[in-house]
């Protein structure tokens, strides 16, 4: 299930807000679609991104997918544990499998993201259209 306290993007990333820091990861639906993740490419600390910028890539055995940040900010931490053991993104996408933390440039962008309920609806719609 998608945790209620997170904000979701249609590109299947989530953001957890803690003061002025946003933690970003991919959703459980995303990790299932990708299959077993074997490789992560994440940015350096200090890198500044605008909302919707590509901030890295995630690779399963079969495919490469780009990662997009739903919010703007400066990278303050990356999940080195996930780089070493990408499988934790499959095992715990909303917890230990987080990807990066950003110091947010603004608190305005989060409001435009989806709630857990709306994201669920969106995924259902996307699956139907296949």
């Amino acid at each position: 299930m998608n945790p209620e306290d997170l904000h979701y993007a249609q590109s299947h990333e989530w953001v957890r807000i803690d003061g002025d820091v946003g933690t970003i990861g991919i959703t459980d639906y995303a990790q299932k679609e990708l299959g077993e993740i074997v490789y992560l490419e994440l940015p350096e600390v200090g890198h500044v991104f605008n909302a919707d910028d590509e901030f890295g890539t995630v690779e399963s055995v079969k495919a490469v997918s780009e990662l997009f940040t739903p919010v703007s900010g400066e990278v303050v931490e990356i999940n080195k544990g996930a780089i070493a053991e990408p499988g934790i993104v499959n095992d715990d996408p909303f917890g230990d499998g987080w990807l990066i933390k950003l110091k947010l440039s603004t608190d305005q962008e989060v409001e435009k993201l989806l709630s857990a309920k709306d994201y669920e609806e969106y995924v259902k719609q996307e699956e139907k259209e296949r």
Partner: protein
């Protein structure tokens, strides 16, 4: 995250399509066929084949049947390997080559009897291969596209022989590598060969399409004690790449010759004339401009099909690349200038704009330990 591509509307399905859905397979479009890419997961399925036994639906493969008094001469002309050396009940790896000596397709030639051959070709190449065979086979020979009459199930892994000996009558587990025989599988007649595309011991079962589901269900049930699992094309790809078996459309195509693809062993220059021979002879004399080699990454990253390669002696291209489940690291195949193809040579791969170092290594990446009897 960007969503993976979805399948187009009109695709072909094998007789096992409904069963794949029931088993929870993730289905993808593969050369016009809706095929299972994975069930439980590529890594788990890969491991099952290396350690136990995996079951694959490869019914999409094409079968061309040659019959008539001139069929030996026709297959000899169409393929570079020496069909004259095949005994009844034996098959070998070969190819169709163009006049330029490049691959129309790679394939297996089965000798069923004198004047009766079956050629097993890549699914998406079947119409092209059939037309090619028809227009280039001379004499009293009939060439048929029998693909609709055959389903194909691969049973692969160290425990495949034990499983097959329990369900087939007569037992095919004494077959030599690349041997085959007719046998009854769950009471229905089938052709079973000791072949595969995984680098592991295994069998392939050619059978009537209407027996495919019953047989696959039987294999799942009777293979439970062996730890048998259904496997998709995802694991098939990682398994074949570890064993350095080439994939048409990735590693070889109609621009690549057997010399370049390190498949010179399928070319028997002394057997007499065959399609493409002249060009191969010329290339042998002039020298091969590029070679297909195995590589490992020095820098982080997975180099995938189509990524540019840069060497001190000119440019090349990555033809296959993945994360090797057995080795736990990225591996791949690349076509590199011959001067840059020696073991240990370092080169760069352009991974989506980032230059990453790689090194030519010995292949295969994985070789099974043969049992000492």
């Amino acid at each position: 995250m960007s969503a993976p591509a979805t399948a187009p509307a009109s695709v072909k399905r094998t007789p096992l399509y409904e069963l794949h859905r029931e088993l929870g397979a993730k289905l993808i479009d593969f050369g016009g066929w809706e095929m299972p890419v994975q069930y439980s997961g590529i890594l788990e399925e890969h491991r099952a084949v290396r350690e136990r036994v995996g079951l694959f639906d490869v019914s999409h493969m094409g079968e061309l049947e040659f019959s008539g008094p001139d069929s030996l001469a026709a297959v000899q002309w169409l393929t570079p390997n020496d069909v004259g050396k095949l005994a009844d009940g034996r098959c070998h790896y070969s190819a169709f080559l163009t006049e330029r000596g490049t691959f129309v397709d790679d394939l297996l030639v089965y000798r069923k009897a004198a004047g009766e051959y079956m050629l097993v070709v890549n699914a998406s190449n079947t119409p092209k291969d059939f037309a090619w065979a028809r227009s280039n086979a001379e004499g009293e020979v009939r060439v048929e596209d029998a693909s609709e009459r055959w389903a194909l199930i691969a049973v692969q892994g160290p425990r495949a022989a034990g499983l097959m000996s329990r369900i087939c009558q007569p037992d095919p587990s004494d077959l030599p590598y690349y041997g085959f025989r007719e046998t009854a599988v769950y009471g229905s007649s089938a052709l079973v060969s000791r072949t595969g595309y995984t680098g592991e011991d295994g069998f392939e079962i050619y059978l009537a399409p209407d027996r495919a589901e019953h047989t696959f269900r039987g294999l799942l049930a009777d293979g439970r004690e062996d730890g048998a699992v259904p496997c998709g094309l995802g694991a098939r790809d990682t398994l074949r790449l570890e064993a350095k078996m080439v994939l048409y459309g990735n590693d070889i195509d109609d621009t690549v010759t057997p010399w370049e693809a390190d498949l010179g062993w399928i070319v028997k220059m002394k057997k007499g004339d065959f399609l493409g021979r002249g060009a191969l002879e010329r290339q042998q004399q002039e020298g091969v401009p590029r070679k297909l080699v195995g590589f490992e990454m020095i820098d982080r990253g997975i180099a995938r099909h189509g990524y540019p390669a840069r060497t001190e002696h000119g440019d090349g291209v990555v033809t296959s690349g993945t994360h090797s489940p057995t080795l736990g690291k990225p591996i791949g195949l690349a076509l590199l200038p011959t001067e840059a193809s020696g073991i240990g040579t370092e080169f760069e791969v352009d991974i989506r704009g980032r230059a990453a170092k790689a090194r030519v290594v010995e292949t295969p990446f994985y070789k099974r330990q043969k049992e000492v009897r």
